[in-house]
């Protein structure tokens, strides 16, 4: 893999610290709705059953949250999938996203990685209509950025980049002047950098 192992500097959407107990200045009161961001990065292990995605998506909509990014893939364990979600808590208390996910019977564990030291990756594939000297310049930009050319034809190249959200955004910004004719982006996958005692 040529993906550079950049450590995440900042979230695309920085978050306020979680509220709770006596420390919460809003203790027992309505939360102000004008906080800078309410995005939670959650990693959930779910049972690999039909309809689980519907349950998760339905719950998110029902509770007034909003999914901004989502990826689903298998885990190492048989019958278990991992969902990584970037969810805006909407008008709700931010801890509600995790708590409501945990209520779903087929959701086994949920980790809120928002404030944890973590790695996060997204993948983007971009098809550029480039030829001639323009193509050379585009490929040079891709190299400089640590992306890769994964397919090339007479009139186009397809490039890939992976990294955290911001890095993918910057990469695409650089490529836009060359004419992106098709773009496919994944949702995030994220992982805590810490090792929990039960994981050792």
């Amino acid at each position: 893999m040529s993906t550079p192992s950049t450590t995440i500097q900042a979230d695309p959407h920085p978050n306020p610290p979680s509220t709770g107990g006596r420390e919460n200045e809003m203790g027992g009161r309505e939360k102000a709705v004008s906080e800078p961001s309410r995005l939670r990065i959650l990693s959930a292990v779910v049972e690999d059953h039909p309809g689980v995605l519907t349950r998760v998506a339905g719950m998110v909509r029902r509770r007034g949250f909003n999914i901004q990014g989502l990826s689903v893939g298998p885990t190492d364990a048989q019958g278990r999938s991992r969902m990584t979600l970037a969810v805006d808590a909407g008008h709700a208390e931010v801890d509600q996203v995790q708590k409501q996910l945990e209520r779903l019977i087929e959701v086994i564990t949920v980790e809120d990685l928002t404030e944890a030291p973590r790695l996060s990756r997204e993948l983007a594939l971009a098809k550029l209509a480039v030829a001639g000297p323009q193509r050379d310049r585009a490929v040079a930009e891709v190299d400089r950025f640590g992306g890769r050319v994964v397919d090339a034809g007479a009139q186009h190249v397809i490039v890939e980049v992976s990294g955290e959200f911001e890095r993918v955004e910057r990469f695409l910004e650089v490529l836009r002047p060359y004419g992106i004719i098709e773009l496919a982006r994944s949702g995030p996958v994220a992982m805590s950098k810490e090792v929990r005692s039960d994981e050792r």
Partner: protein
């Protein structure tokens, strides 16, 4: 065994004795086998919504899960309102619906609908069974999920060809649900802190919700209130959890609660909320709720209730019974003088803001009907109320000296709930008197179930508070929507005495106070269902009431000139 037999055998193994249902194309294999299982006594309803409310009333009355059968498509969809009602109020139900053949699902086959998709938001969990091997496990899991932790309805959608397939099942003992954690042991340090805070508070209030009744914590609640000398109120769904005639009783809270309760909540320095969601009907305007309170203690079995509406200072995540029992030993009996001024203040509020109603305008008053009914309840009858003014009148005039069962649709507010739920309650507790209080609007929404009461000669007494209008909506239009009465007139209604007669039960009409007692006497001495159509004051309103968008102590009372 066929899938249908596995279903019925599994239900029998779960201890089911009563099923409320309606047959149709997609559950015919189950109904074909049903007569071979006489322990599963089936009640043929007249509409599937009725089945769900009956199962709901059954579950609330005896604590065992209610069971519903319905066919696919419209049969299953008719269950949705009843499932939502049970879900909002955390009532354990298991609904088993038939579904089209596995090979036809997804092809818009006859009476096919996406019951899983439709019921997902109104059930605790649901299953679609497409393999006969899964039936026994799924039913066992469904009962476990419905009844454990915070209870709720579970739907099982079983394809017809699966009901017809053959399999020799192994009956599971345990359940394997790695993502389901229903039981929480309370954090003892939190429990202790909560008990100490309660003992130390100057002006504490306990509010009890449905969770107290669901966990059977009435005794523990009473003991905690008495030991800590804490005034105790209930939510609408908590009515019955704490004896209303107890000296520490604050009766019902919320935007139609009693004046002394609302004053106490608004002036409390500590609020302990037990087994409740703290929803908008409890708090009125949230930002103005309990402004003097510096210690919120929330006891609930569902961790997601912590901070959903109110961020507590102390969280105790456990079922109410366990939490209160653990708390008791740490509660210090406060010095009498420590509580005296608070209790005196509450007594003063009780005198200043009594429950009042119009008495002298010549009309029959709904409150008089309720007072007379409760006089006959003897602290023991199950009272099932519908939704609207009748519900609040029934709740406010509740007068038990000990815990009792007041059943109503609190969260969902489902009109038409009361009568079928009363039928279910009577099936569950045949030894108890059951009174059904309803307005005429809600009653006609599920009145077809009269046939069920007649068929089973059920002693359910129907107290119809008939004001010829959608009373609560009318009151809101009068008071909060500029007095524009829009589509609330129900003067075209059946003659309820004739309606009762048509269904085969006795019906009476009462228009004057003088005839009220004789009608109740008749109802009590007549076996089987009786309907009394009380023609009440068409302008009777619910008081006190907090105007929409106002704080809890901005309540409006009955103007003195009407009292």
């Amino acid at each position: 065994m066929t899938g249908a037999e596995i279903v019925l055998e599994a239900l029998q193994r779960e201890g089911v004795d009563r099923i409320f249902g309606y047959p149709g194309g997609a559950n015919l294999p189950i109904y074909q086998q049903l007569p071979r299982y006489p322990k599963l006594r089936h009640v043929l309803v007249r509409h599937e919504q009725g089945a769900t409310h009956m199962a709901d009333g059954y579950a609330r009355a005896c604590g065992r899960p209610g069971v519903v059968f319905a066919t696919s498509g419209p049969g299953a969809l008719n269950c949705i309102t009843g499932l939502a009602t049970a879900y909002m109020d955390s009532v354990p139900l298991v609904a088993i619906t038939g579904q089209q053949n596995t090979t036809l699902v997804g092809r818009d086959a006859f009476q096919e609908s996406d019951v899983i998709g439709c019921s997902m938001p109104v059930t605790k969990h649901n299953y679609m069974v497409t393999r006969v091997e899964d039936i026994a496990r799924v039913i066992h899991e469904a009962f476990h999920i419905a009844t454990s932790g915070r209870p709720g309805p579970v739907l099982i959608d079983i394809c017809k060809d699966v009901q017809q397939a053959s399999w020799e099942p192994e009956w599971p003992e345990a359940v394997e649900l790695p993502g389901y954690r229903p039981a929480f042991t309370p954090d003892l340090s939190r429990v202790r802190e909560a008990a100490e805070a309660l003992s130390k508070a100057e002006r504490p209030v306990i509010l009890a919700g449905h969770g107290v009744i669901l966990s059977g914590a009435e005794e523990e609640l009473c003991a905690l209130a008495e030991r800590s000398v804490t005034p105790t109120g209930t939510t609408l769904l908590g009515v019955g959890a704490f004896p209303v005639r107890h000296p520490l009783a604050l009766h019902m809270t919320g935007f139609m609660g009693t004046g002394w309760n609302l004053k106490a909540v608004q002036n409390a320095d500590l609020l302990m909320m037990v087994g409740m969601r703290v929803d908008d009907r409890v708090t009125a305007k949230l930002s103005e709720w309990a402004p003097s309170c510096d210690t919120f203690i929330h006891v609930d079995i569902d961790p997601s209730e912590m901070g959903k509406n109110i961020r507590p200072h102390l969280e105790v995540v456990a079922d109410a019974k366990t939490a209160l029992r653990e708390m008791l030993p740490y509660v210090q009996h406060p010095q009498p003088e420590r509580r005296r001024s608070w209790l005196t203040q509450i007594d003063r509020w009780r005198e200043e803001h009594p429950l009042k109603y119009a008495r002298s305008n010549g009309h029959l008053q709904p409150q008089d009907v309720m007072i007379e009914m409760y006089r006959r309840c003897d602290d023991d009858a199950i009272v099932v109320a519908d939704v609207g003014q009748n519900q609040i009148w029934a709740a406010l005039w509740w007068n038990y000296t000990r815990p009792g069962l007041f059943i109503n649709s609190g969260g969902a507010g489902t009109m038409g709930f009361a009568f079928p739920a009363a039928i279910g309650a009577k099936f569950a507790r045949p030894e108890k008197a059951v009174w059904c209080v309803a307005g005429e609007g809600g009653f006609v929404m599920t009145a077809q179930e009269l046939s069920v009461a007649v068929k089973h000669r059920l002693d359910v007494k129907i107290v119809l508070l008939n004001n010829f209008s959608l009373g609560m909506v009318r009151q809101f239009q009068d008071d909060f929507y500029g007095g524009v009465r829009s589509e609330v007139d129900l003067s075209e209604m059946p003659d309820f005495v004739k309606l009762a007669d048509a269904y085969g039960l006795p019906g009476l009409r009462v228009e004057r106070m003088e005839d009220m007692r004789a009608a109740f006497d008749f109802a009590e001495r007549t076996p089987g269902p009786v309907l009394i159509d009380f023609r009440i004051d068409p302008d009777a309103n619910v008081y006190p009431i907090v105007p929409l968008g106002k704080g809890l102590d901005d309540f409006t009372e009955l103007p003195d000139e009407y009292a």
